[in-house]
């Protein structure tokens, strides 16, 4: 490339072309690409180069510029061809994130659960009231008596929309409280291993250069990572809406958290759940709409997780939390072998089963039977108290 080509201004390409490129950037953004102004500017520069005349080099160049992740990489070719070679039928815009669409089953589910309107906006009065109460004296969870009873009520029996909303907010906050405690515990348990020369010498200044006061380097403790796999099948119907809120709280509060939702297939939903606004986060879950309330294939969902996600989301200090009733319409043998595989990968597997809270429950479901040998903690999750009881366990990992 010549020096002249290098410094060519964006102005040297036509207005029409510029519009077309902006349209392309917009199409990519609609498909989940994260493209800023800089990328678009760089792309304009590219178009002005002689190279741009050949589509064979333009495509890989724009791809290197606009893609940021592997999934972008996979999608790019299709979108590029559709946009530039004019087969608009092939443009596949993702369903999630688009604002005004018809109600999806998931949203309906959430609405039926928390009947009245803007559920849990950050400054929703209900939550503010609850927080105020919690500040006065006691621990945040045991704020007020009304919440006390709420915390121990089986979630199936909460029908009043107001109570429901309060329970949801409480679940969300519980997740945050758990984070605060877990982190505090880590800070006190560190110990030094290596001499920190930089700091030692700095401290020696006050002793006239003789290093009396030694400084040590501490090994940084990895923060516990929570990976939550939530069963959103028909049999979990009564609990799903509530756990989605818990999930949102966990993902929002823990920097190290990943969320997955499964029924007959598995979807990675951390990105949607990271949205501060609960209602919008749930909207974005609409991707999972198909199949909600249908059957469950736990084994296959776990297989997908192990094969495609486990390596990325699991590190040396990861606890997996599976929230499911264990009713599996798939093959229990597969569930068993996938649980075994998962067991090897992570530190702890916690299985939360809302049914444990029921009277006379014993894990008879075949899927549950197959999974039991690989579970570290098999705990109830039918009310908020049972979720709060998890925290001391997780802190010890």
């Amino acid at each position: 490339m010549t020096a002249a080509a290098h410094h060519s201004e964006p102005g040297s390409i036509g207005e029409a072309m510029r519009k077309r490129l902006a349209g392309f950037a917009r199409t990519l953004r609609d498909n989940g690409f994260r493209i800023g102004i800089r990328e678009t500017q760089d792309a304009l520069r590219l178009l002005a180069l002689p190279l741009a005349a050949r589509p064979a080099s333009l495509k890989p160049a724009l791809r290197a510029l606009f893609c940021a992740t592997h999934s972008d990489w996979d999608k790019f070719d299709g979108i590029f061809d559709a946009y530039w070679t004019g087969h608009p039928g092939r443009i596949k815009t993702t369903i999630s994130g688009a604002p005004n669409k018809s109600r999806t089953p998931f949203q309906q589910l959430m609405e039926s659960a928390s009947a009245s309107a803007p559920s849990g906006l950050p400054d929703h009065p209900e939550r503010r009231e609850a927080e105020l109460q919690s500040e006065s004296g006691k621990g945040r969870l045991q704020g007020a008596s009304r919440f006390d009873t709420l915390a121990s009520t089986d979630l199936r029996h909460i029908t009043d929309p107001k109570d429901m909303e309060a329970a949801h907010a409480l679940a969300n906050r519980l997740a945050r409280v758990m984070r605060a405690r877990l982190v505090r515990r880590e800070r006190t348990s560190r110990s030094g291993r290596r001499l920190d020369l930089r700091r030692t010498i700095h401290r020696s200044i006050s002793h006239g250069g003789t290093p009396f006061d030694l400084a040590w380097r501490k090994r940084k403790v990895r923060q516990l990572r929570l990976v939550v796999l939530l069963d959103a099948s028909g049999s979990m119907n009564l609990y799903t809406a509530f756990f989605v809120r818990f999930l949102h709280g966990v993902v929002d509060a823990f920097r190290e958290a990943e969320a997955f939702v499964f029924h007959t297939r598995l979807a990675h939903v951390s990105a949607s759940m990271r949205d501060r606004d609960v209602a919008r986060a749930v909207d974005r879950l609409s991707l999972m709409a198909q199949g909600i309330g249908g059957g469950t294939k736990i084994g296959e969902s776990l297989a997908t997780f192990n094969r495609w996600h486990a390596r990325r989301v699991i590190h040396s200090r990861t606890a997996i939390i599976i929230v499911s009733d264990g009713y599996d319409t798939g093959d229990p043998a597969l569930l068993g072998s996938e649980m075994k595989r998962l067991r090897r990968l992570c530190r702890r597997i916690v299985w939360l089963n809302p049914l444990i809270g029921w009277k006379d429950y014993s894990p008879q479901a075949r899927g549950m039977q197959a999974a039991l040998p690989y579970i570290d903690l098999f705990a109830p999750a039918h009310n908020l108290d049972s979720l709060a009881a998890l925290e001391p366990y997780l802190a010890k990992i």
Binding site: M1, H6, R34, G36, R38, E39, D42, R45, L46, L49, L51, A56, S57, P60, A61, R63, A64, L65, C67, A68, T69, H70, D72, W73, L197, R198, I201, G209, R219, K220, R222, R311, R312, H315
Partner: protein, 292 residues
């Protein structure tokens, strides 16, 4: 020096790296837009090799920073040579005035260059390889981001050091941790897949002296078939080359010639106990029947 795409392709091949066309475009773009290149892909597809080849292409030095958990600025950027500083203080005690000593011990003589500082202080821009960035902590990633946009480093005792030349930066990631959006956006992106049969055969031919083309083709097809099996750890290009070298060393000219040897040398490719158990003689024979 800016090379165009064809020149980069040719020189990569001359350096022993058989690249696909798109990678050559990305490498050219790196120079043109002055952005770092982020390479992702399964372990063993030759991400690190790209940086080595790029250094050869431009005839410059390769400076490598291997990331690991707990990597901090002292190990990546610079460190004072404390032992020498202490000695210098003691040696001059009572003889020089304190200010002189201070100026002296905080001079460049006592500065230990680590890869990042080294990379911006070369006269000819080197290739800076930041290997496995996903293993470093998030704090380090944020720091790196700052360095990659300003190309200057401030050392409190010495002042700001500006880059003499802007290095070509290649980052690799294995996906053990999700990288931040900011870093991703800062970089050009290229995903390296396992090479297709044809390209892998060319790589084998290129890197294994004295192997014949027919055998290289068979090996490439066999490895491709093995990668389609449901294994825990798929063999990478390095493994393929090991296997090719082993087979060539054993005097094998045709994979069908001796299925026993084939199965026994499979340890070059299959590296976990579980996968080994899965690749039985029958499976090997079945795959061989398909490809040879």
């Amino acid at each position: 020096m800016t090379l165009d795409r064809e020149a980069i392709s040719e020189r990569l091949a001359a350096a022993g790296y058989i690249a696909d066309r798109d990678l050559a475009v990305a490498l050219w773009l790196m120079d043109d837009l002055k952005r770092p290149l982020l390479l992702e892909g399964e372990a063993g597809v030759g991400k690190t090799e790209v940086a080595k080849a790029l250094a050869t292409v431009h005839g410059t030095e390769l400076i490598r920073l291997q990331c690991y958990e707990g990597l901090d600025q002292n190990a990546a950027l610079y460190e004072w040579n404390y032992q020498r500083q202490l000695l210098a203080i003691k040696a001059r005690e009572g003889t020089a005035d304190p200010d002189t000593i201070e100026d002296h011990i905080f001079s460049e003589r006592y500065l230990l260059e680590r890869p990042l500082l080294a990379a911006i202080r070369r006269v000819t821009p080197p290739v800076l390889l930041i290997d496995e960035i996903d293993r470093a902590d998030e704090e380090f990633e944020a720091f790196l981001l700052e360095l990659l946009s300003d190309f200057q480093i401030s050392i409190p005792e010495l002042g700001t050091i500006k880059a003499i030349s802007i290095p070509r930066v290649v980052l690799t990631s294995n996906g053990t941790r999700e990288l931040s959006d900011a870093l991703r956006r800062r970089c050009l992106y290229h995903y390296i897949d396992f090479p297709d049969v044809d390209r892998e055969a060319r790589i084998i031919l290129r890197r294994t002296p004295g192997i014949d083309a027919a055998l290289a083709g068979q090996i490439a097809r066999m490895v491709a078939a093995i990668r389609r099996e449901d294994l825990r750890k798929l063999p990478g290009v390095a493994e393929t080359l090991d296997w090719a070298a082993t087979l060539a060393g054993l005097g094998v000219h045709d994979l069908r010639q001796n299925p026993e040897t084939l199965h026994d040398t499979m340890m070059c490719l299959i590296k976990t106990h579980e996968d080994r158990a899965q690749m039985t003689r029958e499976v090997t024979a079945r795959l061989l029947g398909k490809v040879a």
